[in-house]
Each structure stands twice: as C-alpha cells, then as structure tokens.
C-alpha cells in the first residue's frame, strides 16, 4: 500500500500550482487504491460463499431435521439421521466399496503415472506425440468411459472376458462379483486419469536440476537408485498434490458405478449393492428414497471421511518423501562440507 500511495503523492507534489483540484484527485485516487482490491475479489467471495460454502454448511441444518424431498422441512430431530446412518448397513457397505475402489484406483494409478513420467522425462523422439497419446483417455468423459467399459466388462462376450479366454481364464462375472466389479470400476478411473497425472509429475521431474542427477551418477548411483533418492524427494510437493486431488476425486466416484450395470438394479450399484459407492448411495437416498435429512447426514459423514483421508494421505506422503529427502540432504551437506 505505502509504496503505491507514495507514488500517487509524488506526482501531484511535482506541480504545486493546481493543488486544490489535485486534492480531490488525490482523495479519489486514495479511494481507488483502497477500495478496488475489494471490488475485484468480492464477486468471487460473494458467489463462492452463496453457492459453495453456504450449501455445505446448510447441509448440516438439513441433516438435523426430518426433511423430505416433497414435504420439505419437518421436525428438528437432532442427530437422529446421523445415528440412523451409522447403524445403516448399506451405508457401511458403500463406505467399504468406496475405499476399496479408491485404493484399487489410486495406488496403481500413481505408481504407473510415476513410471510413465520417468520414461517421458527422457530425451524422446516425438515428444509431443507421446505426451498427447498419454492424454488421450482424458478427453473421454466419465459417462462415455462408463458406457464403453461396461460393454468391455460385459460377462457374455465382452472384450475383457474374450481376452482372458485367450489365455485360458474362465469368464469372470464382472458385474456380479464384488471384487471383480471393483477392479472393473477402478480400471475405468485408472484408464482416464493415469496419463493426466503422469504429465503433472513429468512437469515436476523436469524442474529437477540435471546436475543433481549427474553428480549422483558420478557417485555411482544407478537409474533406479536416483529415481528413489533424487527424483521422488524433489517432486514431493507435486506428488502430494497429485495424491490429494486423487483422494478428493476418488472418494466421490459417481458416474462409473452408476452406469456400470443399470440392467439389474436401475443403476444404484449392482443387484446386491456390491459396487454402490457412497456418493451413489447419497444420490439414492436423496432422489429415490427422497429422504433429504438422511442424505445430508451421509453427505457430512462423507465430507469428514474425505477430509480425514486427505489429511492422513498428506502426512504419510510427507513422511515417506521426507525420509528420502533427509538422506539426500545429508548427502548434499556432506558434499558441501567436503568441497569447502
């Protein structure tokens, strides 16, 4: 503030003859400087507060009431909706499915993305071509992905079972068995997001100073060793970013389980809810069973779960990465010491 104000003040003092007029200009300019930042940020804060935060907080109010889609607000019931949800075996089933699909999609996705990024980090021929081909699945929308893969994983003569048949594997009941359905849904997520994450990680890898790699290579560290003790620790912030976004997205999977098998149960996640995720259950509770109170309780519990797992992931990835980072730091300080 002070420097811009000074700038505004030095200009008029250079021409003292027009002082009375300038003081008005000065005051206007002062107002301009003071008020415009707030004017620029206010649309965001007003709209975000109204349409982002307010609904989230108001979900808590709805969850404390009897609240039906058609009747609207009913009696205040305290934590009854939460209690009912916590005793609801469908709710826990959906949490189990969500976590299972989440792990099956996040772990392979980030591992493969790291490997892909490491390959793309080489001096490749046709750099842009490879990067674009890695990104191709990203432009297929989740709904289209779900349609395509629910066909691929069709029990009878779907592509997946046809291919497995080639190596003598009996057809798998992708849509009936719990694990098989989780694998199938995780495959959709992995297919769409792996390349995207690989590009994010690639960007971080490219900012790793080449000298660091070179001096480690001189010290006799092989490619794998350098990957774990130089690349991973240096791209740590990006890795954490990727893991956190994968968590927030992965725990809210909806389109894929909703459309994986609509023939048996109308799209609520399988005949026995074997692949019903929590967002899908939330949607069923709100718009099929029309119980907004219970659905809001589910929303809040899921919210807590996402924040909780996000934090756990944050600390784990921080620790893993910094354990390597410490080793690296020790090495570099030793080097500095010896070179001095």
């Amino acid at each position: 503030m002070s420097s811009t104000l000074k700038a505004a003040e030095t200009a008029p003092s250079a021409r003292p003859s027009t002082r009375p007029k300038l003081s008005l200009v000065q005051r206007l300019s002062w107002f301009d400087v003071k008020a415009s930042p707030y004017l620029y940020i206010s649309p965001f804060f007003i709209l975000f507060g109204l349409l982002g935060l307010f609904p989230l907080v108001y979900t808590l109010v709805v969850s404390l009431h009897d609240w039906e889609l058609l009747q609207g607000q009913g009696d205040f019931v305290g934590f009854e909706n939460f209690a009912a949800t916590l005793q609801d075996r469908f709710f826990w089933n959906s949490i189990f499915n969500t976590l299972s699909i989440f792990i099956l999609s996040t772990v392979p996705q980030i591992t493969v993305a790291l490997v892909l990024a490491a390959i793309l980090d080489h001096n490749l021929k046709g750099k842009t071509f490879w990067r674009m081909s890695v990104l191709l699945p990203y432009i297929v929308t989740p709904v289209a992905v779900a349609l395509i893969f629910s066909n691929i994983f069709q029990e009878e003569s779907g592509l997946a079972n046809n291919l497995l048949g080639l190596i003598g594997v009996e057809p798998i009941e992708w849509k009936r068995e719990t694990w098989a359905s989780h694998v199938a849904i995780a495959t959709m997520v992995n297919w769409r997001w792996t390349g995207y994450n690989a590009l994010i990680l690639l960007a971080a890898m490219q900012s790793v100073p080449r000298d660091l790699h070179e001096s480690a290579a001189i010290d006799g560290a092989g490619g794998v060793r350098r990957f774990f003790s130089i690349t991973i620790p240096t791209i740590r912030p990006t890795l954490i970013f990727v893991i956190i976004t994968a968590t927030i997205g992965g725990l809210q999977i909806f389109a894929e389980p909703r459309l994986f098998d609509v023939s048996t149960a109308g799209g609520v996640g399988g005949s026995d809810r074997q692949f019903q995720t929590t967002v899908l259950y939330l949607w069923e509770m709100a718009f099929f069973r029309q119980d907004f109170g219970r659905a809001s309780a589910i929303a809040w519990l899921l919210f807590l779960l996402i924040v909780g797992i996000g934090l756990i992931n944050f600390f784990i990835s921080k620790r893993i990465a910094s354990a390597d980072g410490r080793a690296l730091k020790k090495k570099t300080t030793q080097k500095k010491g010896s070179s001095a």
Partner: protein, 296 residues
Amino acid sequence: MSLTTTDSRAFPLQPARGRRRTRTGVGSRPGFLAYGLLVATLLGFAYPLWWSVVVASGTNATRGETLPLIPGGNFWANAAQAMDAIPFWLALWNSFVISSIIALSVVTFSTLAGYAFAKLRFKGRDGLMIFVIGTMAIPTQLGIIPLFILMRQFGWTGELGAVIVPSLVTAFGVFFMRQYLVDVVPDELIEAARIDGANQFRTFLNVGLPAARPAMAILGLFTFMAAWTDYLWPLIVLSPQNPTLQTALSQLQSGYYINYSVVLAGAVLATIPLLVLFIAAGRQLISGIMQGAVKG
C-alpha cells in the same frame, strides 16, 4: 542453478567417469525398453476407444469377436438410432451453452480476484488467500442437497441456469490466476502505470490483463472441459427432456437399448467434440496440465 554448478565443479572429474555421465544422465536417449513400454501404454490407452468405434460401426455380432480391428459400415445407421433415442442436438447445444458461460464467468472473476491477490495490497489479503487455498481442498459438491432446495425455490430446476449458477466461480481458478500473475507482472510496471495517472482499473486493463492472457486461455479450456464432463449435478437438476450431453448419453444406457452398437455409437459421437478440441488444442492442454502442476 549457479550453486549446483559450482558444486559439481568442486569435484574434479576423471575422464572415464565423465563419459559415463553422459550415458546415464536423465536427458539421454532412451533404449528400446522405454519405447516398448510407451507403445504398450499407447495401445492400452487407445484400443478401448478404437474398439468402441469398431463395435459402433458393426453389429452386435462384432462385439463377440475377440479382438476386432476393422470398422464396419454401420456407424451412421447406429449413430442415427442413438440420436433418435435421445435429444442429441439439444443436449449438445445445452452442453455447449453451459460450458461456455461457466468458462467465461470463472475466467473473468478468477482473473480479477487473482490480480488483486497477486499485485494489489490491501488489508486481510494474506488471510483471505489462505482461505481460498483452504477451500480448494473442500469437496463443495457435497452441498448438493441444499443447492437443490435452493434451485427449486428459485424455480430453476429443469433449466440451464440451475447448472450454470453454482459453477460461476471456483477457488482453484483464483489460486491459479494468482500464482501466474504474481511472477509474470513486474510491480514496477504497475507503479509506472499508476504514476502515469492510470487508475486501478485502467492499470488492470492495460498491464494485468494482457499479461494474464495465456493463463486465462488455459483456465478457460480446463473449466470448459470440467463443465462439459460434469454428470451428477445436471442429472439432479435437469429433466430428461432438456439434458446435457452427459445426462442424455447416460439415458442410452438406462433405456431399453441392449443394442451395444447403438450405445457405443452414442459414446463415440459424444466423444467427437472433445476429440476435435484435443486435436486443435492438445498442446495447450498438455502445457496447461504441466503448468498447473509446477505452480500448484
């Protein structure tokens, strides 16, 4: 950078090792293994799409083949059936309108707020910025129930406004623009404009906006794609008679259509718009993803 070079210079290199350095460096030419893995990845990523094209242009019998590779001649017949089953053109238009307005709005408000956070000084700036960053990690999608109640009270359910309004701003957009502008616009330039007598808004228009343009394009592209891709919220607030492309497409699956060729023809049709965007702006998409990461 200079620090690391002096570091490596402190180690006198033996000639033999020097040669080895060039061979093991990251920037080296990769071997067959790397290209082999890349080709395998490419096949894995592209084949499901190609398979959809093949089945969509064949009959239900094509689906039974183990590894069909050659498209048949039925694509337009199947696509026509898919377009009859759902209001395809209306859905396409709706998606286009919704995504364009959302992208425009997010870019405008994010640029304004991002510029203020990056380049202007005001009370509470740092606190508010931390607030913006904090809310980025909050899944606001979970507020759908009150949002639905709100939209119904406004009488907007079934109309495009109900899809557009909740997405007019994003915390990420503000964060992204702020990160970009903080490095790109030199403070001296802003002060020079102020000394020349430009008011704050003129300074923004003449100095901030031109510098922000590349980031605005990237933010617009990704916001457009996110809005185009969204499924849950349009499914809740729109009717099947006035759908977006995604909700319309999902009707194909939930209808009576067990004709896989028709369903897949719909999926392929719906992918064409983004495929065109990908071919036209693929490089921008890639650099957008890579920039967002470096800054994020």
